[in-house]
Symmetry: D2
Subunit: 397 residues, 4 copies
């Protein structure tokens, strides 16, 4: 059967990952040499994290498997155990679907579960967003996934070079930009009114005539135990600015319970009178919010990634995005309320930034699909170093 | 409590790992600034893999936890699932023992489960035998563990340089040699008669007056489906040589059932009249066998590692040790019976080799313990590259 | 060691179970021949189910183990899988704590996981609240637990007779009443103002001068898919009555997400202006609310159990408590809004009921502890029927 | 679709269960109103337990799912944990196959995992071999499964009456005999020579001209720790009788490692010179061995069940079958070697017994299929007692 289509199985296991892989899903589905398989897993299926699966299905992607593997109680131990549960569940789906390649996104525990399951089952792994640098346990996990992956689609040139430096074969490392930028590039920006109307959520109503702040803060595993106070502090600063604010509930992570408790504490303090709280939004709506917000605050990587392309003024808090590559639109601060307030005011004074192409120009999805169709890395990996060179002079390495 | 002893938790999860960490166990136990915790896990606890836990306990190490996490039926999928089960179990033990550092050995699925569990729980991971190159899924898993580890104790200089090249901080990479060599160095070689008497096992009796071959062949995940025929072929060649042979049952791996079936098939064919079959041996006894055997055959890494120091003539089959660093004592061949036979005869003609210090000189355990006591890497890792250099010129990286 | 204290391990795995076992915890702790071990598990540890563990710890019971085993996404499949995860986790704790007897409460998936784990580990199981009849999968699970248990502490005489009829040995079946009644009996009722002040929660403030309704509705596995509409309907009826209402978030069950969504939908409809929402309360506070509420509405078993003793007018909806033994204080209805409204109005017209001792008089905890200290059932169970009698005449059985 | 065929999913999870359900598989497959689904699970898939799946496939039944859920190291704790792993795996298969009814066999941990998974997923459970009485944890588990099951196919009239006495609705309890008898009834007995030739296995060759003993002894959870000595004792007695013996390796159970070690110890003692060791046989071959053996020794239930129909002289050891219903062909003894020897000699003196129809006459499979096609029990179970009668007089119950 010379022209059997290659089965590409994309595992989507968190809300954030969905927007970062949507255009790959589309391009694989539409590619004549590829057959798309979709696994919706983990928090993608959970109502309290916004049921991103509904967004996926609304976009026409019916999951071939739905796998629940989040153990409740987001402590560091349950995060490790949820990884374990994912490793018990994913091989069952892979055995049934028999993919020719598995695509895994970014750097979370769901992602490493996917990579290990596929690697042990001799299925080549394609990894997007490798080679980036950040804080949190994500930093270690991301590079571990790189070492388990056969095909690399980093989002920037620097990330590509890091992956090669780590000993990956340059023939299988491709910088095509980030698929999340594809969505940002093709979304009609509309007006602020377009951005603000018609979302559900809870809390104060939104006034579409007024400027607004966007808050998105997640738990940080390596800062476990501080999340409640940090989120409460962020929201109190936001409240003190005097602008209306759209606040997102956190992802599922060690620490997400803390962040959610910080939101609830803040609401209980009666300070939330200009705040509106969301669980999830379609990616296009989120892009529109980023296009029209006065400033984005928190520790989401979207502020760096889509933010660079959209020119969104952003304040990045704490260590989660520390040292991650970004454009000029981001100001980094500590969790100190005064620092946060200064940074927000500086960004409000600056206003929006120029478009920056650091993370791509909007063609990543299609190009990744083309490469998935044509490149066949060997299942047996091998560290790509020349031993003689390495041994030549340790200080030069 | 300024002088609380640092808790070092060593996870031993396969028979092979035990010999490679024993002198570390001893040195940590005896170190005034350290408190030893031992977790015996996976095949270490299983009777059909030789209950290495008995060896451990006989050596005076009572496990602080015993964790069974091997799912029977060593297919690629159950290997991934056993990793998952390990990730469900290990955090429970870590929560109870509260180690300050976790030590994990080499490159198996039990090892990556240990590394992920500790890393997500913000416990620094010390890894031995990183940076080596081999075939099989172990190759990918070994380097993924490196990316999750905070402290690196590779066994050779080349391995250390590879780890640094992969972006690990050189301040936390130490080439002290392999602790398995410590055992080889201190074991009194005795005579062939000492090496051969008094072991249990089954099959033909051993004649301590006669030379012998040593066969140790494990399943290879990336060659899944070929293990039975390969093992049968090896044993038939060994049988044709006409010397008595000591044959080890395989480790627990995808493919170990196949290899075991190959042994059973061979025995059923009535060819095993000069073969004696073992499940496990104390490390000292194994060193003595390697010291006195005429040739070691199979795909065990001991042939390369302890073999270098002991000068054991060895024939390494197939891809499992492919490209792994070794001394002059090893001849690599395919699984072709004629090639195997030629290689064995060449080694028998050559006889024993000179001692080679590639994998150390016998001081690794003590030096590792000293470093565990004094070095405190930060929990938050960071890829150790200079971005400007990386971006300078892609071809130079 | 003739006078070693007997180790009694109580597994508390849901919010509802806590109040039903608290006086047993106290009596075991205070008994000279017993040593109390407490395992806090499942939803007891989860913030979004009210962190009942805090109540437990505030009462002076520090858990010997905390075990998280709820897999998020309360579908029927994840309920079965959470049972499985409990069975992976509980044996680890039992191996460490080595209890002489394990106490398990009522009829949930956490309870059967406890019973199976202990039974396979040859640890006698003591079961409270067996022999009752209800709707939902709880009905089957409750009786399955009875067949795995060695010592039975049913809450009523009828339940005790059912357990004996099921073939359990009458020497190990004791009707001592329900420990939840102990709490009800010893709680000072106070005034309505005492009942209503000082709780947290969210939604409309509570007016301590005004009468109030109490709403507690859980997911029903065998009605999966209807929970949202049912809860929304209940709340709309409650809203139409015109009294302020205290509404509890549901337990963790298949269907609890639906019920929670029903609450959120109702709040989104802007009808919740007299409703206050709780996650959890100390048992004494809950007893006081039941003592002073005008009517309790939903499908909680507390309405039948504590309600009988306290004389609380109650409306029980749907099949969850169907056919469960109860006193005169309960009116059963369908989920039809008109029926619910009629039933509530009838109960409001009737007012409070006389105390009814069907579920005990307040001495259960102490008596259970005494029996745990003195009765030692054999680990090997045996169906307690006389074969000759059974075979005598089938129609008479 | 008025005439959609009803999907019957049979879960086969141990070697012993296969022979007890084969004619049901055939009859369901051949029934015009039914569609057969087969799940092969647990030890059925394991090489070291004889890969019963090969027998299943050779008989034309291709599994719709293969599920590995045995955790190695058959301690009581891993038996509970394997049940848990089964509960994590089976719901995935049930979600995919969407059976209308699930059939589960007998009384093992795999069986209760099946029953719980199906029950929580609102799938009716049909249970074969309920209502029997035996030793071991199987006794409790069997009756717990009855309480989770909706349709009961016990193997004897007494078992049927016990199930009804336990509170099951008599409309759903059917004594049709045991499907294992169907196989015994239709297997051509052949000659001793037919029974003895052509099996593989290991150990001494079998002399088809000579009489032989049949040994089948399994681990007993409630006697954990004694299995090795018991098996060794049995084999030494067998050896002392002086007849050739066919010995089966044990099932996967807590204690099976011990029994296997007992076999290995016995072989190591050099006493096995008239013993031949098997892992598994097709059911027809096993029936033929039971038809022609001089005496069957051990604790297998086949000695009681098929043994009754075939008239096989049998010696049942220890507590495992204690009090189980049986015909005149069985002598029960302790594990005392002298008692065992006396019992074997008595049976050898007696010779074969008359056919006994206690467990059926050979039509069970077909009749069970007919009832699966026509009977639809409600998913919501309810204890089938009359409360008034129960309360009438406790002593009469």
């Amino acid at each position: 059967m010379p022209d059997r289509r290659k089965k590409v199985c994309v595992v989507i296991a968190s809300r954030a990952n969905l927007a970062r892989i949507t255009t790959v899903l589309e391009a694989v589905r539409d590619h004549p040499a590829l057959e798309l398989q979709v696994i919706a897993a983990a928090s993608v299926l959970l109502e309290r994290f916004g049921s991103a699966v509904n967004v996926l299905e609304a976009a026409g992607f019916t999951p071939d498997a739905k796998i629940r593997f989040i153990i409740e109680g987001q402590t560091p131990a349950t995060m490790a155990k949820s990884t374990g549960l994912g490793l018990l569940e994913l091989p069952t789906a892979f055995e049934r679907l028999e993919p020719d390649v598995v695509v895994t996104v970014a750097d979370r525990f769901e992602t490493i579960a996917t990579a290990i399951a596929a690697a042990y089952m001799n299925i080549p792994v394609a990894h997007t967003q490798g080679g980036e640098v950040s804080g949190s346990i994500d930093e270690s996990v991301r590079h571990a996934i790189t070492k388990l992956s056969h095909l690399h689609f980093p989002a920037t040139e620097l990330s590509a070079r890091r992956i090669i430096a780590m000993g990956e074969d340059p023939r299988y490392v491709f910088n095509l930009g980030c698929p999340s930028i594809d969505l940002a590039a093709r979304t009609h920006p509309g007006t602020r009114r377009d951005a603000l109307v018609d979302h559900c959520g809870e809390g104060s109503p939104i006034d579409p005539e007024q400027p607004f702040l966007l808050v998105m803060q997640h738990g940080v595993t390596t800062e476990y135990g501080h999340g409640l106070a940090q989120m409460n502090a962020t929201l109190r600063v936001v409240s003190s600015i005097g602008m209306q604010a759209l606040v997102f509930w956190p992802n599922v992570d060690a620490g997400s319970d803390e962040v959610a408790a910080g939101i609830r504490q803040f609401r209980g303090q009666g300070l939330a009178d200009r705040c509106h709280f969301f669980r999830n939004l379609p990616a296009e709506d989120f892009v529109r919010l980023m296009t029209h917000c006065s400033c984005m605050i928190g520790n989401s990587s979207a502020a760096l990634r889509e933010g660079a392309y959209l020119g969104t003024p952003a304040v990045s808090l704490g260590t989660r995005q520390q040292d991650r590559e970004c454009g000029p639109n981001v100001v980094f601060t500590s969790h100190d309320p005064l620092d946060i307030a200064d940074a927000i005011r500086a960004q409000l004074a600056h206003g929006r930034y120029e478009r920056n192409d650091l993370f791509g120009t909007g063609t990543a999805g299609r190009e990744i699909a083309d490469l998935l169709a044509t490149v066949d890395p060997p299942v047996q990996k091998r560290l790509h170093y020349d031993s003689a060179t390495l041994l030549g002079d340790r200080t030069n390495v």
